[in-house]
Structures are given as structure tokens and as C-alpha cells.
């Protein structure tokens, strides 16, 4: 996936683009994978006071390596506080305190509604996806939502098999009737570029392309007739610092994983416990 001369992958471009969307000091609700990479990259570069909240209950988490799950010990270790699950949803997310929520998706439609539940019929699905998790309430209550997913016709569909989390329903002011606290998805970051909802209709519009990508590619990879802005900007490629920081973060993570021989250590521990 390396894009040749520039020496960065499309995943890296996505992560860097997402990180740049985070202003310093925001309270950010983070999922695992690319969102966690992006949030931690932001914290390590331009947004040192970005406050990371994970749905496992960690507030002000400061992971030194990238967590593998939203509940890694790493997250609790250096957090400002750790609260039980009911509180993270009731006292934190539901109150509208969260500035930015990150979400991924298996499918989205032109109004940034999200499906993470099933492909095909709900009763006898072709593909059973993991389901809702924290997404419906993040989509409802975070002040804004950043969506990250790779551009493809399988993912960018004309009609969702299932609406797991709400973007703008069928557009315009439809969302406001739900009395949600948050404004909804303000940006969709893909491996090709960046889409933002039209201020009036709320239809996702391609406003920016990553270096090397074309509007034609994006149209091809979209299951509906994609709106393209009159003036499409070009994303700045990842700079030295961004790339270096991101890769260092990943290396630290891999090194930390290699170090641990969990099963063998556990085996020894159990043996020792038995002898006592």
C-alpha cells in the first residue's frame, strides 16, 4: 500500500488526516484501531492536551503504546480517572460533554448514517457484523463525530442494510427532530480523501483528495452518485514529524507486544501458586 516516492501508506494518510481534525484540548471519545492511532498521534504532535476517553471507563488516558482493545491496562494506568461502565455512558457521553467522537463503519450512506450490524436481511444475514457497541450513543451525543473508513462500493452504499447509528437520516433538518445533543458527523476520512456534509442538505460531499487520488476514483468507489465540491482541495501529505511520530508509536507498540510471553509467564505463575 506504500504510495511510492512519498513513502507513506494510505492508512498512514488516513490516520494523519484524522489526527489533524482534532483541536488541542478537546475531550475525545476514542474507539480502537485507526481512531486510537489518530487520537494518540494528535496527542503526540499538535494536541498534547487532547483528553482521551475510552468507553471502558478511562478518562484522560495517556497510553504510551497503542492499545489493542478499548480496555487495555495501559489505558487505566495513566488515566486521570477510571469510572465504571454505567458512568462513562450516563455521566460522560449522555451529558454532551464529549467534544469529538470517532467512529468506524462497515457501511455508510450519503447522509452519513452508519451500519455495523448486518449485511443482508437481519433475520438471516449474509454477514453478521459485531453490532452497535457504543456507536449509537456516540453518534447521538458527541458534539461532533469523525468517521473513518476505507472508500469502496461495499462500504459506501446507496441504502444501508441496517441503521445502527444515526448520521443525518434522510438529510436536511431530519436529525434535529431526534433531539440529539450532538451535531452529527462533521467529516468522513477515507483512504482517498475527505467528505463533509453539505451545510443545507447534509449530503456527504467530497471536499478534499489525498495526494495521488482522483475524484474519479472516489466516484468509482462510492455506491451512489457522489457529490464533489466545486473546488476540491488536496490534503497535505504527512510531514516528517507526523510520520516519524506515528511510526515510533507503532514500533513501541510492537516492541511492547513482543516482549511479553504471557502464556509462559502465566504457566509459571500457576505452577508456583500450586506449590504454595
Amino acid at each position: 500500500m506504500s504510495s511510492g516516492a512519498n513513502r507513506y501508506t494510505t492508512d498512514e494518510m488516513m490516520t494523519v488526516a484524522a489526527a489533524r481534525e482534532l483541536r488541542d484540548g478537546v475531550l475525545c471519545f476514542v474507539g480502537i484501531g485507526l481512531p486510537s492511532e489518530a487520537a494518540n498521534l494528535a496527542r503526540a504532535t499538535h494536541a498534547p492536551n487532547c483528553n482521551l476517553v475510552y468507553e471502558s471507563g478511562t478518562i484522560g488516558a495517556k497510553p504510551e503504546v497503542l492499545p489493542h482493545s478499548i480496555g487495555d491496562g495501559e489505558l487505566a494506568e495513566h488515566a486521570d480517572s477510571v469510572v465504571p461502565i454505567p458512568e462513562i455512558f450516563s455521566y460522560w457521553l449522555q451529558t454532551g460533554r464529549i467534544d469529538v467522537g470517532f467512529l468506524g463503519a462497515a457501511q455508510i450512506d450519503r447522509f452519513a448514517n452508519i451500519n455495523t450490524t448486518v449485511i443482508g436481511d437481519y433475520g438471516s444475514p449474509k454477514v453478521r457484523l459485531p453490532g452497535a457497541g457504543g456507536a449509537p450513543e456516540i453518534a447521538a451525543s458527541a458534539k461532533e463525530v469523525i468517521l473513518m473508513l476505507r472508500h469502496s462500493r461495499r462500504a459506501f452504499v446507496e441504502e444501508l442494510a441496517f441503521v445502527t447509528s444515526v448520521g443525518y437520516l434522510d438529510g436536511s433538518d431530519a436529525r434535529s427532530k431526534l433531539r440529539y445533543l450532538g451535531a452529527g458527523p462533521t467529516v468522513v476520512i477515507t483512504d482517498l480523501g475527505i467528505l463533509r456534509p453539505d451545510p443545507q442538505t447534509k449530503e456527504l460531499t467530497l471536499t478534499q483528495l489525498h495526494p495521488g487520488a482522483t475524484a474519479e476514483e472516489a466516484r468509482e468507489a462510492t455506491g451512489w452518485e457522489l457529490r464533489v465540491a466545486d473546488e476540491v482541495g488536496e490534503t497535505d501529505p504527512p510531514d516528517e514529524k507526523e510520520l516519524h511520530t506515528l511510526r515510533e508509536l507503532r514500533e513501541k507498540t510492537e516492541a511492547a507486544n513482543k516482549e511479553t510471553q504471557v502464556l509462559r509467564e502465566l504457566h509459571a505463575r500457576i505452577g508456583a501458586a500450586r506449590k504454595r
Binding site: 480502537i32 484501531g33 468507553e55 471502558s56 471507563g57 478511562t58 489493542h68 482493545s69 478499548i70 480496555g71 487495555d72 491496562g73 489505558l75 487505566a76 480517572s81 477510571v82 469510572v83 465504571p84 461502565i85 454505567p86 455512558f89 450516563s90 449522555q94 450490524t117 437481519y122 438471516s124 444475514p125 454477514v127 453478521r128 459485531p130 453490532g131 452497535a132 457497541g133 457504543g134 456507536a135 449509537p136 450513543e137 447521538a140 451525543s141 441496517f162 441503521v163 445502527t164 444515526v166 437520516l169 436529525r175 431526534l178 433531539r179 440529539y180 445533543l181 511479553t260 504471557v262 502464556l263 509462559r264 509467564e265 502465566l266 504457566h267 505463575r269 500457576i270 501458586a273 500450586r274
Partner: protein, 286 residues
Amino acid sequence: MDGIVSLREAVAELVHDGDSVALEGFTHLIPSAAAHEIVRQELKDLTLIRMTPDLIYDQMIGMGCARGLVFSWGGNPGVGSLHRFRDAVENGWPHPLEIEEHSHAGMANRYVAGASNLPFAVLRGYVGTDLPKVTDTIAPVTCPFTREEFMAVPALHPDVGIIHAQQADRSGNVALWGITGIQKEVVLSARRSIVTVEELVEEFEPRPHQVVLPSVAVGAIAVVPGGAHPSYAHGYYPRDNAFYEAWDPIGRDRDAFRGWMERHVLGTEDFAEYIESLVQEGVGRR
């Protein structure tokens, strides 16, 4: 059944065919040993409840223990699908699985309502999504003061609540710390409870973000060191990320899965033997 017993006794005594059983632990302290004991005792027709069904639910579902699943997110965190869960939902193998799905916030509220002995809880959510169309246990309720409408979810009262914790003391109090998830509410909402712990201690030391469940709230306690593997026990051992990755190909294939479960779970007496057997075979082998 109260006090300190073997896990085998606890499961034999407290979990019955047809029960609703919640094994909780949000990425941290997942009660794997207890799930394996349920598989070993070949319990059937269980309604399994859990916010994040993961490997242990994949295993119980694949081994035919479950009739139903109440959940909010069913995946292998950081890796991908739970293939046994998918096979049950997509293909009815080993038999069909009734599912009742919520969001995390909905499930958390259901446990809180259960622990509070209220039949329902109220939250901001669900409206506009397709979840209320497929899940009966979501219904509107109106605020008697503001007349705003919200969604309500019914309380969970599992027949058995099962968690893993770091420590118990000799009086039967239980201490857990780090990410403590929904464990307190699971034990308090359940009719019966089993807690597996890393060790017995004379006295708890203060720990960051510690929850202490007093003995009067706790049913059976079994000491099972390592009992949360491949998840982790804060202060004891880290998450076995390699195991989560190794599970993907094992869970993907019906025969590989069945063989693996027979060798390591059905073919062992307890969790210590299971760990021994994993170490001897090497984790990655199907």
C-alpha cells in the same frame, strides 16, 4: 452457595440448563475459566448475556451451550469476527441462536436497573436507529415533568452472574481494580453469583480505582489464578494479544474449533491443566 469452593462445584451447584447467565468483564478480567467450566459440564440452552461477547462466548456458542444471546458488540477486539458466533447466526450451526441486541449504553442501563431493583431504565439513545425495529426490549417512556420522550430498556436479572476479580479475603469480600466495567452491577443484578479470583489475601491494600464487593453481595468464590486469560488481570498479568490473533483461524473452521476445544477444554480437568496444555502444544496450532 456462599463462601470459597472449587469452580467445578460452584458451576455444578449454581448454573443449570436453561439458565440466563451473564459473564462480564469489559476487556479486563474476563471470566474465561468459568466459561470453560460451563463447557466442560456441557450445560445447555443457556441464555448468554454479555455486553461484548468475545472468545469465551464464541467458545460456548460453538460448543452448543447457548440457546440465546443478549449483547451489544460481538467481535474479536482488534482482530475481527467471532466466527462461531457468526456461524450460529448466519448458518444456525451448531444450532440456531436467538439474539437480542442493544447498544452498550442500553446494556449498561439494563444492568443498573437490575441492580437497583427497578423494572426499567431510561436513556438518550436508540431513536432514529433500526434497533427498536428488531429488539422488543426497547420502548418509549415519557418524562412526567417535561413530557419529553425517551427510550426505556428493561432490567436484566441473570439467573447467574459470573465475574473474575483480582482478590478475595477470607471473609468473602472481593476486590477488583483498574478497569472495573460493569462487574458490580452484574453481581448485584443476578439471582446467584460466582466470582473467580486470582488469589486469596488476608487484607486488601488500597488500589487505584478499586471496587470492593462486600461479602453479603457475593455468592460462591473460587480461586483460579490466570482465570481471565487471554484477557488480563491488572497487577497480575497483561493481555495476551497473540492469543486473540491466534484464535481467528481456530474459530474460523468448525473442525479446527471442535478439535481445539476437545484437546484443551473438554480434555482437561481445570484451568491450570488447560494452560498447561496450551503451553505444551504452542498457542498458534489449530
